[in-house]
Amino acid sequence: MTVAPQAVRGDQATKPAATRAAAQLRAVNPYRLRRQLNRVGLYASILFLVSPAILFFFWMLSLSLKNELDNTAYPPVFLPHPPTLANFIDVFAKNDFLTYTINSVIVSFTATGLALLLGVPAGYGIAKSKATKAAVLILVARVTPGLSYLIPLFLMFQWLGMLGSLAPLIITHLVITVPIVVWIMIGYFEGLPIELEEAALVDGCNIWQAFRYVAVPLARPGIVVGMILSFIFSWNNFIFGVVLAGRDTRTLPVAVYNVLTFEQISWGPLAAAALVVTAPVLLLTLLMQKEIVAGLTAGGVKGG
């Protein structure tokens, strides 16, 4: 569905996926032993690639479920016994995490939604018209260091009297989310076969309709990836929140940093707070995993 249009434009509809190529390869390849070895290598690779993440999240969980003495013990205590929820209770008792969660949800969802609304057509337009200048302009927003926005935007929003609301955060988050969506959509739309849209145009559609009813459905996997990525970047953004968020508009990453108390180190509550902040995105990852995989592998140009 993407790239390599010369193949796509061949007489047959796409049969994409290197996995299928690999399957084909296995069927043809007579050397069973070599295949077995490749298999072993593959599993070893996967184990090597995945283990750092497993170790890290295990340790994070472990820290959050142990009391403070076990957390700073050496040699380290790996399995909490008995596990305690005291750290989580502590975090929720001392911080208004509910409000911060709601703030984060509002900001990230709105910024992502707006980014899709603006970014998908933009990606299409740029891909189709080869408007490299527009691409560069939008890329520039992605490129500008976030820090450089802070002072001017802070002063501007204060001057406009907007600082008590979530609007400044949402607006600045657009600077993060829009370029991501656009950038990803350019890649997707560039790879779409032109025949489908040409056919639509010949059938009397205008370009908007061709976009809406042909290109967008085809690019849905790309939209999903773009949405997920822009959501993460928005959810995880720290530096804008530090400066632009106040008491009632604080987002979760800023709140978790605040748990790092002065004059008292507390590994347990810190790990617990970190987990609370990260949990929604991790959960989302688990739920959306299918979407991501489908979006990336299903090669949706069927019946072209």
Partner: protein, 440 residues
């Protein structure tokens, strides 16, 4: 720039004022409810002082009928945020809690905070038992700007001292050192890397490490700048001696990685019972004695800062409360500041172990004397330290840059760099920045 003498004289004049007020108004009952129904927003720096204020916040609301919205922010965020908001002329708070040793000259130069003198002198606003004259001279000096304005009320004086592990000392038959030379010798004796035990720990990370060095420097009877705040004294023979001491203590006797330690890593090491001595602020006491987090609850000793060749002194760092000039609830905000720095509240603060009180009367309180929350040794160390307390950081506008430049030099020393060379280089690098800051 006004000299220290004039400054002292002016504050002395002020000291006299409340006394007169008291005689006149002693009989009348003070009206705490004059701002009833108003709302004040308090921007607190995250630390035990702020915890204490929030714990007692309800009492203030009942006393005054003022609604308080307070929140704590970590200092790395709160410091710049306070300055940016004040500079932009639309602060979101009515009271700000800040460190005088970091932000005093910045807020002073900007004339951003209300001058408290008229408020203190106004019997309608200041309760007769507030007793401004009770504030320690050091705290008064810290709260007074060079032009004589007092734009904040001191909330806490953080004394620096030495925590030590009595168990480790006993095992080696050592006693608490009286001088820095003894301290180094003691640290060397305690040091046993093979068993994971180290003689000494203190901040090695840049910026945060500067007060450790100035603690030693005060033993040479000198501070980091001349009294007029114009010339650096950071590469004098005394400064180099202090640098060598700092380097020896942290390079030879401290745990590996100390170059990256801030207070929290030091505290964690010390609480594990693996470190003989820890030099830092008194406000870190409570966790050390908390069995939930500390393994050395029964072995924590408290010692006064050792003497140097020329003097014995410990640095003190003052927290304060100020009111932005743009606040729309200045009187209510002032009532809050007054309440927060009252005798009772500062006594509460000490009882919580949240730090040392800037008021002299706190240390004459019979209850506190008898039942110190952290034992007599703690209290006696605090009292002895109060008497020898001096400013630990220069009162200049670019104090943060000063801490970085000197702090980097100190970090380099832990890495093995030559002390004299580093201090000369840092002094040469920072002198123009200081000169520049004095121009505007």
């Amino acid at each position: 720039m006004i000299g220290r003498r004039t400054l002292l004289a002016s504050s002395a004049a002020l000291l006299a004022a409340p006394a007169i007020i008291r005689t006149v108004h002693a009989q009348s009952t003070f009206d705490w409810k004059r701002c009833k129904g108003q709302r004040v927003v308090i921007a607190l720096t995250k630390n035990p002082r702020a915890d204490c204020l929030q714990q007692h916040q309800k009492e203030f609301e009942e006393l005054t009928g003022i609604r308080v919205e307070s929140e704590q922010m970590p200092e790395q965020q709160q410091r710049p945020k306070m300055v940016m908001e004040l500079a932009s002329g639309r602060p979101s708070f009515d009271v700000t809690h800040f460190s005088l040793h970091v932000s005093k000259r910045v807020v002073g130069t900007g004339l951003w905070l209300e001058d408290m003198r008229p408020y203190l002198a106004n019997p309608a606003l200041t309760a007769p038992d507030y007793d401004w004259a009770d504030m320690s001279p050091g705290a008064l000096r810290a709260a007074t700007q060079p032009d004589g304005r007092i734009d904040s009320l001191p909330l806490e004086s953080d004394i620096w001292l030495v925590y030590y592990n009595k168990q480790l000392f006993q095992q080696k038959g050592l006693s608490f050192p009286k001088t820095f030379d003894e301290m180094l010798a003691t640290a060397r004796k305690l040091n046993d890397p093979a068993s994971g035990t180290y003689g000494f720990v203190a901040r090695g990370v840049k910026n945060a490490n500067v007060p450790v060095w100035t603690s030693i420097l005060l033993g040479q009877d000198q501070e980091t700048v001349t009294p007029d705040g114009r010339t650096l004294l950071t590469d004098t023979p005394g400064a180099i001696w202090a640098g060598e001491m700092y380097k020896s203590l942290l390079r030879e006797c401290a745990p590996p990685g100390v170059i990256g330690f801030n207070w929290n890593e030091c505290q964690t090491s010390f609480m594990q019972g693996k470190v003989g001595m820890w030099l830092d602020g008194v406000g870190f006491t409570p966790p050390l004695l908390d069995p939930k987090v500390s393994k050395i609850v029964d072995h924590v000793g408290f010692g006064v800062m050792p003497a140097g060749p020329k003097a014995q002194a410990c640095p003190v760092f003052t927290d304060a409360l100020g009111i932005p000039v743009q606040s729309k609830a200045k009187e209510a905000a002032y009532l809050y500041c007054q309440w927060a720095t009252s005798k009772q509240m500062l006594l509460n603060l000490v009882n919580m172990g949240a730090g040392a009180s800037p008021r002299l009367s706190t240390y004459q309180d019979p209850v506190l004397m008898k039942a110190s929350p952290f034992g007599q040794e703690w209290l006696q160390t605090l009292l002895a330290s109060m008497k020898i307390a001096r400013s630990g950081l220069p009162e200049i506008v670019p104090v943060n840059e000063f801490r970085d430049v000197i702090g980097i030099a100190l970090s380099n020393m832990i890495g093995g760099a030559d002390v004299a060379k580093e201090l000369h280089a840092a002094t040469t690098a920072f002198q123009p920045v200081l000169a520049q800051s004095l121009k505007t």
